[in-house]
């Protein structure tokens, strides 16, 4: 073949490909659609509500599906509002029976799953189905733990073969628009659980029709409907049939001190959603996410920590550089969670020991490590100095947080730590080998180096601080679930604004494979936990929580903790107040553009 003809052929193939690669049809004529381009630092694994475990999944699920309840747009501290439900639940005298009325006339979006492809009304039995689905072994739910052993008859229903036509006594549709839940014991957090992506309502037809395909399809009744989703972006458009509910900013918790100047006033009295089209870009790499934002390709950014210095003029209060402030708004949002390192109490080299003397020496060793850990530097280097270091395991984002707690456990005290080691007879020869586990990533490795640096200063020989590297996060999870990792560093993302959600991380019954990955099992703590679990929020309950927190501190069961602050940036062309706590992007429905984009 002559080179010229090769080239011609190649060009022909190329142009053919070009036209097959064009998948998006040109927009219809008419007024330019109001579009908003969001960015997230990761991609959802699945859009199936039963697998809405990550912030990325929740963000999309909550916009595609309805939940019974939601958080108010602007209210801080967080407050609940009815969503698909007509009002907050009515509780029976004993607090065990909830009756929930549904709004009427809410419809699922059109989908081939329905006969004739037309969406039908959302009814109470859909809610029953959606919650029961978590207990169907076929579903592989990630959210079942929220309701396990809480709702009457669920376990029996599952054991009897998960027959949806014979729902358990604790979860029933009384009529088309009334739902009744019966709890096995008081569960003060139950309404919170009904705001989560896991509690999103989907029709039985969708599961029958799409099956596993629900990972990439959505048949909901939320403010948006799904156009497409792949590994790099999702495209949503307005659900034109979404119920008309005009916004009252006052009811949403508008606070002039915090929400003024963002243009939010323009949505007062209008019915969401205000966007015709919502694009969500999934950009894992910090550099790419920043570049795309700065170039105007996306309009929202969770600012990478490395960028804080270049963007901020001042950190307290958080203020942008003038050239940035012209284009962007900024909000410093405390993350709904915290990072901490737990000691594996099952490991006799560092944790509980049958010999009381050795047990006491181990405790001293843990306390010395806690003292030698330099949280302020850690905060500076990895969270841009904006995070909040707090003692214990009740982070600043929950109402039970105690700002006046003794800060000893988070104060870098090298002499104190070394004195403790000497007092209990620890020296370079008899110190145990510390094994710090982490999944393979650059940042996790840097955190290990940081820890090793602190331990070397404390007096550990460098070779006694070893990395346990895992090829994937799943392998790391498996290892610490199997109790193989001595020091487990993880972040906990709160499911709802209640300290119970973090204290359960140290409850003995939740030891591995549960979320108590340090396997802390303290009699006193467990007793207090059981006592507090059934109580409504109250000063007595807060006192119990504080006592539990103190147990964790006294036992030096964890190096804790850091509540990071996220810097959220968004374009000044948008009227919005973003938030990614607890449930993620439920605020999308309230976003509006100040100046509709001219294409």
């Amino acid at each position: 073949m002559k080179p010229a003809s090769t080239l011609t052929l190649a060009l022909a193939v190329l142009s053919l490909l070009l036209f097959t690669a064009c998948s998006e049809a040109p927009e219809d004529d008419g007024p330019a659609p109001v579009t908003y381009v969001h960015s997230m630092d990761g991609a959802p694994k699945s859009l199936d509500p039963a697998r809405a475990s990550s912030i990325y999944g929740k963000t999309l699920v909550l916009n595609l599906y309805d939940t019974l309840y939601r958080y108010r747009y602007l209210a801080r501290p967080y407050a609940l509002a009815p969503n698909l439900a007509a009002a907050l639940p009515e509780f029976s005298e004993d607090g065990l029976t909830l009756t929930i009325r549904l709004k009427e006339g809410v419809r699922f979006v059109d989908d081939p799953a329905f006969p004739d492809g037309v969406g039908r009304e959302v009814v109470a039995s859909d809610v029953v189905y959606s919650l029961l689905r978590h207990f169907d072994p076929e579903t592989q739910s990630q959210g079942a733990w929220l309701w396990r052993e809480r709702i009457e008859g669920l376990e029996e229903w599952k054991a009897a073969g998960a027959d949806y036509d014979a729902p358990p006594p604790g979860l029933r549709a009384l009529d088309e628009h009334t739902l009744q839940l019966r709890l096995t014991q008081p569960y003060p957090q139950i309404v919170y659980t009904l705001t989560q992506g896991y509690a999103a309502v989907l029709p039985r037809e969708a599961v029958a029709y799409h099956g596993e395909g629900l990972g990439t399809h959505a048949v909901g009744s939320g403010p948006f409907r799904l156009i497409s989703v792949d590994r790099t972006r999702a495209v949503l458009e307005r659900n034109s049939a979404f119920r008309q509910e005009p916004v009252s900013l006052a009811a949403e918790g508008f606070d002039p001190a915090f929400d003024e100047g963002l243009g939010l006033e323009r949505i007062e009295g209008r019915a969401p959603p205000f966007l015709d089209r919502l694009e969500v870009e999934f950009i894992r790499e910090d550099a790419a996410r920043w570049n795309a934002f700065f170039a105007g390709e996306t309009e929202f950014l969770k600012l990478p920590v490395a960028q804080f210095d270049r963007v901020l003029e001042s950190r307290d209060p958080v203020r942008l550089q003038p050239n940035m402030a012209e284009r962007f708004h900024v909000q410093a949002a405390p993350e709904a969670g915290f990072v901490y390192t737990s000691f594996n109490m099952d490991d006799p080299a560092i944790g509980d020991h049958p010999d009381p003397d050795q047990d006491e020496r181990n405790r001293a060793l843990r306390c010395a490590i806690v003292k030698a850990f330099d949280w302020p530097t850690r905060n500076q280097q990895f969270s841009g100095g904006l995070g909040r270091v707090f003692p214990g395991v009740i982070p600043p984002v929950v109402p039970e947080f105690n700002p006046d707690l003794d800060p000893t456990s988070i104060t870098h005290d090298l002499e104190g730590a070394q004195a403790l080691l000497t007092e209990y007879g620890w020296n370079a020869e008899n110190l145990p080998v510390l094994k710090w586990g982490f999944p393979s990533s650059v940042t996790d490795r840097q955190l290990f180096e940081l820890f090793r640096g602190y331990m070397v200063t404390l007096g550990f020989p460098a070779e006694k601080v070893q990395p346990l590297v895992y090829a994937s996060f799943g392998d790391f999870l498996r290892a610490f679930t199997n109790r193989e990792v001595m020091l487990v560093t993880t972040g906990w993302t709160l499911d709802y604004p209640d300290a119970e959600n973090t204290l359960q991380l140290f409850y003995g019954r939740n030891a591995s494979p549960g979320a108590n990955n340090g396997n802390f099992d303290d009699e006193e703590f467990n007793r207090l936990y059981r006592e507090a679990a059934v109580l409504e929020p109250s000063p007595e309950r807060t006192a119990l929580f504080q006592a539990m927190n103190q147990r964790v501190l006294d036992e030096c069961a964890a190096i804790s903790g850091l509540n990071r602050r996220l810097l959220l940036l968004w374009s000044r062309e948008l009227a919005m107040q973003p938030d990614r706590a607890f449930v993620g992007g439920y605020f999308f429905r309230f976003i509006d553009r100040l100046t509709p984009e001219v294409p």
Binding site: E285, D286, A287, W290, N291, P304, A306, Q307, D309, R310, D374, T377, Q380, Q381, F382, S440, S441, V442, T443, R445, Q446, E449, L450, R452, G453, Y454, V456, T457, A462, P467, V469, Y470, A471, S472, D475
Partner: protein
């Protein structure tokens, strides 16, 4: 090895320059190995310092001296590159010679099949899968690359042994009853030494380049400092305007690869080996 080729080698400026540069970097790697150079593991210095007399390439996120870490990366490069090269050459020479000794035999067929299978899997996927299977970390990466890279050498040695196999000296050695492994080891492989030399240099280059990519993908060396790791870190630093990590790692990486490529080139010229096939 032919002496005229060796003479030609030493006349080549590329060889002398490449060797000099390579030896210098090897000396750095050794010094790091003995603990005379490189980081001391301390953290907590001021982060993101610019270049200065004390810190030639500034400091990183943890306040560590970047140049120290880049020097330590030299040791990792030589360790990873060296072990992979050694492993791939030994495997390739032994298995290639075994196959080439009796072409067409069952052993040969099995070897060809095995090599065909390994070569049909894209290198990153094979290395990644092996690294995962072996649990990650430096040893896993070294093993993975060795198992992926030995086939190239084995193919060449197989061809060379098959070619020399019918030569007079081999036939007479066989006639006096020398056992095959001895003939291969004493007479055939020394005659293929130039192939091993060139393959060694090529494998070294491939190992270092692949380690960088694997590190970036998150499956490279994590126990020690490597240039790949520094480059992976630098993709986060760059957007904050910190170029130290990137500059130091890519500079040393370039120098080592340049040294090896110059040497490879000179060797190929001297021994008249040019890959005109793929």
């Amino acid at each position: 090895m032919r002496s005229d080729a060796v003479q030609q080698l030493w006349r080549s400026r590329g060889w002398r320059f490449g060797l000099g540069l390579g030896l210098m970097l090897a000396a750095i790697a050794l010094a790091v190995g003995f603990g005379w150079l490189g980081p001391d593991g301390s953290v907590g210095g001021p982060q993101w310092q610019g270049a200065s007399a004390a810190h030639w390439f500034g400091t990183n996120r943890l306040g560590q001296d970047i140049f120290d870490r880049a020097l330590a990366g030299t040791a990792t490069a030589f360790r990873v590159g060296g072990l992979v090269t050694a492993g791939a050459l030994v495997l390739g020479a032994l298995l290639g010679a075994a196959a080439g000794w009796r072409t067409g035999s069952l052993l040969d067929e099995v070897m060809l099949y095995l090599m065909g299978v390994l070569d049909s899997v894209p290198i990153y996927l094979l290395a990644a899968a092996l690294a995962f299977a072996l649990g990650g970390g430096e040893l896993a990466v070294i093993t993975a690359m060795t198992l992926s890279f030995w086939t190239a050498t084995a193919r060449l040695i197989r061809g060379e042994v098959a070619r020399l196999r019918t030569r007079e000296f081999v036939l007479s050695a066989q006639a006096i009853g020398l056992p095959a492994p001895l003939i291969v080891g004493r007479h055939l492989l020394p005659n293929a030494a130039h192939i091993l030399l060139v393959q060694g240099a090529l494998t070294f280059v491939a190992a270092i380049k692949t380690e960088v990519i694997l590190s970036f993908l998150g499956i490279g060396t994590l126990e020690n400092v490597s240039w790949g790791l520094m480059l992976a870190e630098s993709t986060q630093d760059l957007l904050a305007g910190h170029f130290g990590n990137f500059a130091a790692a890519s500079l040393l990486l370039f120098l080592l690869l340049l040294a090896l490529n110059l040497m490879t080139d000179a060797l190929q010229d001297a021994f008249d080996l040019r890959e005109t096939a793929a």
